[in-house]
Every structure is written in C-alpha cells, then in structure tokens.
Subunit: 237 residues, 2 copies
Amino acid sequence: MSQIKALTFDVFGTVVDWRSSVAREAEAVLGPKGHRLDWAGFADRWRARYVPSMARVRRGERPFVILDDLHRENLLELLAESGVTNLDPVEVDGLNRVWHRLDPSPDVVDGLARLKRGFILSSLSNGNVALMVNLAKRAGLPWDVILGAEVARAYKPAAEAYDRTASMLQLEPCECLMVAAHAQDLRAAAGRGFHTAYVHRADEFGPSQADRPWPSDAFDYRVSSFFELADRLGLDS
Amino acid sequence: MSQIKALTFDVFGTVVDWRSSVAREAEAVLGPKGHRLDWAGFADRWRARYVPSMARVRRGERPFVILDDLHRENLLELLAESGVTNLDPVEVDGLNRVWHRLDPSPDVVDGLARLKRGFILSSLSNGNVALMVNLAKRAGLPWDVILGAEVARAYKPAAEAYDRTASMLQLEPCECLMVAAHAQDLRAAAGRGFHTAYVHRADEFGPSQADRPWPSDAFDYRVSSFFELADRLGLDS
C-alpha cells in the first residue's frame, strides 16, 4: 500500500450526514409554511430519487447536468407528491441549497487533518464544484483539490468518473485509494484499478438501518471511522 | 466591495517565484551533466516560450493540451537551442516537473491564511490540476478549490477561462476578485466583469527589472503584498 499517493473520497454519506441535515432544514423551511411531514422520511425520499436521476445522464438519455439541477428537479417532484404547493421559486432554491450545508460526521474534520499529512485528499463526489466548495468551507473540510462528476463530466459509478480523476492528478489508478461508505462505489473504483477503503457509517440511513451488515467484499481496508483509516495507513494521531 | 465572495489567483509570478526556482533546479540537473549556462537566463527563456505556445491553443491552431505538455515541448526546444543533448526522456520529465516545485513568495502562505477567513480562495492559473495540487501540497497553499485552464479547457486571457471559473463557483463575475501580478490578466478579468487586485512583484523578472513601473490601470486594488490585500479587504492579522 506504500504506492498510495491520493485518497479520493465519496462525500454524501461518507463525509457528511445528509439525512439529519436535510430533515432538519426541510422542517425549518416547510414547518412555518404549515406542513407537518415525516422529515427524515422526506430526506430519504429526496435521496431515493438521486440514483435514478443520475442514471438517465449515465445512460446518455440527457446531456450532463450538475447535481444541483438534478436535486432541484427531484425536489419539485417530491414537493408536489407531498402536497406542498406554497413555495415560490426562491424558497425552492433555498431549500435545494441544503445540500451545500450538510454536517460532517464527528470523525471527519480531525480525521482528514491526519490523513492530509500523508496523502493528497481529493473529493470524488457526484456533487458539483460549488456544492463541494460551500460544503467544505462551512464544515472545514481540508481538501487539497475538488474533483468528481462536474470536472469529469461523468457520474459515478461510470468508469470515466474514476479514470479522469486519476488522470487529472497524474496518478496511476493503483496510486489512488477510493474511500466510501458504499460498496457499489468501491466496486466500480476497484474495477478501474483503484485501491479501496470501506468506511461503515451505521447512521447513514437512520436508526432502523443501524445494524445492517457490512458488505462482504474484500476491500483493501474496512474501517468504522476516518481515525481508524488514519491508523491503518500509519499516520500518527 | 462587500459583494466579493471568492478570490481567484494567478499563480506563476503572483503566488510562486518561478524564476529563482527554475534557475536553481536547472543548475542542479544540468550542472552535473557538464553544462555551464546562465541559469536565470535559462528560466527566462523557458518562460518566454509560454505565452506563444498557449496562444496557438487559444487561436484554435491545436486542441487543448495541458501546460505540462506545453512546458515539455518548450523545454525540448530550449535544450536543443542551448546545446544540451545528453538528457534522457526521464531526466527531461524530471526537469519539466520543476514547475510543480516552485517556491511561494514570502508573504503568500500567511497572507492566504488570512484571506481564507473571509473568502473562497481559488487558483485560476494556466497550470494544470496536478501541477497546482503538487505546488500547493509542497508549499502549503490553502486553496479551497483548484480551477483554471485545465478545468475550463481554456487558457487565460481567453474569456472562457474567467467565465467558466465564476460559473463553476456559482458566482456572478462581480462576486469574484482576480488577484494577479500581471496587468494583462487583470484587464481580461475586468473585461468579463471580475473585480481586480494588482499585486506588484518587483522580483518576478529579476533584479534588472526590479524598478519597472506599476501599471497605470485603475484596478480596484493595487498592493505590494498579500498582507496589504488582506488589510484592504478588512481581514484582521
């Protein structure tokens, strides 16, 4: 593993906790407008539209558009489905920007600071550049570089998302370690020659899913926090 | 100026001192191979080929290629012109990578740390992503995001280099402040609606050019260091 030079990170669910942040902000925006919804469920339903909406881009059924635009289309559908008809476009935009304001998991900021001493830290998210910048600025995420879908013009798990990221870093895929809480992302990265680190995020899908099993895949690392990853990569605390 | 949200930086000559770094490394590589050259002059002659080589891309005479590739082509011409024929391709690559190892000006690291408290800091250089990442990692440059020619697929002073950078940040051009030691870069940025800050780098072209005049343009800021820029932007030291 001494060949690893860069750590490339999935962000939603791996670095930041989308579920609680989205639920909290949805309640803060929609509650005062008279709505009483299952807010965590609202977050889950918004998130559930994410993969299908990107798949249409990946299949070439529509040109590449950034994730903010997909999120907004999905939000409009979700609001209609939820009977919310009293938001104006500026309020919709404001709620859509909740994805720029997600909170990091508790181990993330200090864990990344340790990892940064030994490696290039790059985001490799399907989120667009401005979203990643705003998220990092607010949460204090010390990326060396923001790469991913908008720069690569391809959504994970498409091969081009991984290939173009390694290429822009002028690294071989085997010099990159993909860090994610999602087996599908890691399997795709491994298929392009990346090393892989699975981080188990028990809370990502809420308490009812907290005891779901770890994937059985033979990833290079299987850890329960960024601290444990830093330990395994030989970085002092 | 309260509308400014991001500072976008020229890098070569504004953030890092290319001339002394390139001269030093050229001597370190070529001296032991038996060459006695004017090393600062070697740096100047390499740099002089930079603008014409990018201009061919800007005029559409060749497809976009990253700056590392232009630097290497220019280096091969310069070595031939200098009578250097005893470098193998790996040694040429190593020397070409000197642009990934340039030293920052003395005010840069602490100045950027101050500026980072108030603004998004983005590189907006003609250097490619890996070059910018390696430069920043080595020198401790705390960019929030690395943008510029490779991401925009356009070399400054082409309009697209500025337009696409603001667009990826989801900012209006007037929310961006271009920071550069070069009037031409700032004029082009102003032409696209950016605010402008001129930083005078007396040493960029060596001692013989140290008392060259400041440009007469009415840039929004005209400063002699990143510290002075931080002062002018109201950031505490």
